[in-house]
């Protein structure tokens, strides 16, 4: 199995973002997904900046994939999506069926986690259009994966979201702007103040969600390192880690060593615990409510 780094889902300053990518342990990663997936108003990085970064990262030998925005509303969003789909240089992760239309039967592409692939028939359809890899929806677990893997078309790789706050929902409304009593059109880019999202708790203090602009995430970090042997058995090809603002390199290193078989069980837990920045959850993998943590 190979490791990938998913697109940064948060809004970081250009400087912070470029610094993050420059300091990654590139040799540990087979694939890096790049691009703004959440909100078209986030423009610290212009299209040419993303392409420049993609070329720099490709120089390190890593496979670079450009990810498209998940929720397309405006003409500007469409234009950005077309720009990525027609880049002609890098593989593209389609996160909306509109992007699939622009890529289908033209170039191979990655079917991203927001395309709703819940059954082998839909996976076969996407493979027929040119999907070379698919990312399982986060709310599916190992039992559903086993069934999907059984009927997977031969050339298609399978990727599983295995670490990070879960991208659970998208809205036209910006919940970060709402928190500050601002309209979305005048959001003052408050997402920049929340590099890992804005935590939301219940009225009795239970951590529940994280508001990331238009996106709602889990407050907990989804953490599937204990499930890596099961993923291997199920024929998973790529294990996706989702970026966070601190201690990411330690997480990458721990997963890298786990994949090599150098770390497992309580040693792996201890290594990850040193880089832990929030509570964990893993319920989805076990077919339970996503918020639960079973870790077995």
């Amino acid at each position: 199995m190979k490791l990938s780094l998913g697109p940064v889902l948060y809004y970081w300053t250009r400087e912070a973002l470029l610094g993050f990518y420059a300091n990654l342990p590139h040799s540990r990663l087979a694939t890096i997904y790049l691009g703004e997936v959440v909100c078209g108003r986030r423009r610290e990085m212009r299209p040419a900046d993303w392409l420049g970064l993609a070329r720099d990262l490709a120089q390190t030998g890593v496979e670079v994939v450009l990810s498209t925005q998940a929720l397309i509303e405006s003409e500007l969003d469409l234009r950005a999506m077309r720009h990525i789909a027609e880049n002609g240089e890098f593989l593209v992760e389609a996160n909306d069926m509109g992007a699939v239309r622009l890529l289908a039967n033209r170039v191979r592409f990655v079917a991203g986690p927001h395309l709703n692939v819940y059954n082998p028939q839909t996976l076969a359809w996407l493979a027929g259009l040119g999907a070379c890899r698919w990312v399982m929806p986060v709310e599916l677990g190992r039992d559903a994966l086993a069934l999907l893997q059984r009927d997977r078309p031969a050339p298609v790789e399978t990727e599983v979201f295995a670490y990070g706050r879960l991208p659970l929902a998208f809205s036209a409304r910006c919940f970060t702007a709402r928190h500050y009593n601002l309209s979305k059109d005048d959001c003052q880019y408050r997402c920049l103040d929340h590099p890992d999202g804005l935590p939301l708790a219940t009225r009795e203090g239970q951590s529940f969600l994280a508001l990331n602009g238009l996106q709602t995430q889990s407050a907990q970090i989804y953490e599937l390192s204990r499930a890596l042997p099961q993923m291997h058995e199920l024929g998973v090809d790529v294990v996706r880690l989702s970026a966070q603002s601190a201690r990411m390199n330690g997480i990458i290193e721990a997963y890298h060593r786990a994949l090599l078989g150098e770390l497992s069980g309580s040693d792996l837990d201890a290594e990850l615990a040193a880089h832990r920045t929030a509570d964990y959850c893993d319920g989805y993998w076990h077919g339970k409510p996503g918020i639960e943590h079973l870790a077995a």
Binding site: L71, G98, A144, S171, A172, A201, T202
Partner: protein, 337 residues
């Protein structure tokens, strides 16, 4: 101003009495689901078996009203046959169309029953013309329902760039998230619209009276806490009060409903083909009243859009139905975002 084209009125039916109420009060289409997780209102005691569906279709067709079967959840790996069977049933009982979200299922329907009308459900999350045209090119989809996330201007943009008929929501419960792209319910309860056909399912709800106070939980998670003088609402999890940055408020959305009645002339003018009323879980009396009011409004707007204004008795009629809940124009109004 010339007479505008009139959008069709698409009304919900959770059971035969509601279907008849919709037909009798002026629906152009009625939509309904089968009694299992193949539809997104998989609630106990609701929906149709093939016998009651057949009776409903006859009742509608005898009165020139069209029927569409909602098979709008995502077939789960391992139980695909149930969804295939739902398509076979739809063709067999003679609905005019099926409304689907899953591409794999659309492919099955388009290949096996080319004469069966295909509509794209809101659960398919198609918010732009490229996505909608993909479903048209691949499966011959004729009508698409837009998620409740676009402004009027954005809806118009979609209509200008596709020949697929565009249907929008006009009235009823409001999803604040993009339909088909929300896993909040399974995160809290293990069951979501995409995997189970229900959001914040009743089986996970617990009402806990604590003296004057009422705590409402979903699978143990506190969604809201009501003081004695507040009306406790159903704990749809995006409509609870939560703590963010030390403030307690409706962090995602207030418990409000969509009512786009006043936008009718604009919706007609930009070429919306049909207006959908949400509410298959509602009573026959509710369906009758909403259908009657929207029928009158659409007819009046069609006769003279320039002079159209929503009549006070329509507004009070609709307000009465939602028991004091607030209304919103939702995303049609940019400020809501």
């Amino acid at each position: 101003m010339a007479t505008l084209h009139k959008p069709e009125l698409v009304c919900p039916a959770g059971a035969l009495p509601a279907l008849k109420a919709a037909v009798d009060n002026g629906a152009d289409w009625v939509y309904f689901g089968l009694r299992d997780d193949t539809n997104a209102r998989n609630f106990a005691g609701l929906n149709f078996d093939s016998r009651s569906a057949g009776a409903g279709i006859r009742y509608a067709h005898d009165r020139d009203v069209k029927t569409v079967l909602a098979i709008n959840t995502y077939p789960q790996a391992g139980s695909w046959e149930r969804w295939e069977h739902a398509i076979d049933t739809a063709a067999d009982i003679g609905v005019d169309a099926v409304i689907l979200a899953d591409p794999g299922l659309m492919r099955y329907a388009a290949r096996k029953y080319p004469a069966l009308g295909l509509q794209l459900s809101v659960q398919g999350s198609a918010t732009n013309h490229e996505a909608i045209n993909l479903y048209r090119d691949q499966f011959g989809v004729r009508r698409a329902v837009l998620p409740r996330v676009l402004s009027l201007q954005q809806v118009e943009q979609v209509i200008r760039n596709t020949d697929v008929e565009i249907e929008v929501f006009g009235f009823g419960s409001l999803c604040v998230m993009v339909e088909g792209r929300c896993a909040l319910s399974s995160f809290a309860t293990g069951m979501s619209p995409n995997t189970f056909g229900a959001c914040s399912p009743a089986s996970a709800v617990r009402w806990e009276p604590k003296g004057e106070r009422m705590d409402v939980r979903l699978n143990g998670i506190l969604i809201d806490r009501y003081a004695g003088d507040e009306n406790a609402g159903y704990p749809t999890l995006c409509k609870g009060r939560f703590d963010v940055g030390g403030e307690t408020y409706y962090a995602i959305e207030e418990p409000s409903s969509l009512n786009a009645l006043e936008l009718l002339p604009q919706l007609a003018a930009i070429g919306v083909a049909a207006i959908k009323i949400e509410g298959r879980q509602r009573s026959p009396a509710y369906v009758a009243e909403v259908t009657r009011i929207w029928r009158a409004a659409i007819d009046e707007c069609g006769a003279n859009a320039a002079r159209f204004s929503a009549r006070p008795q329509w507004k009070t009629g609709l307000t009465r139905l939602t028991e004091g809940q607030q209304y919103t124009l939702g995303a049609y109004n940019r400020k809501w975002k």
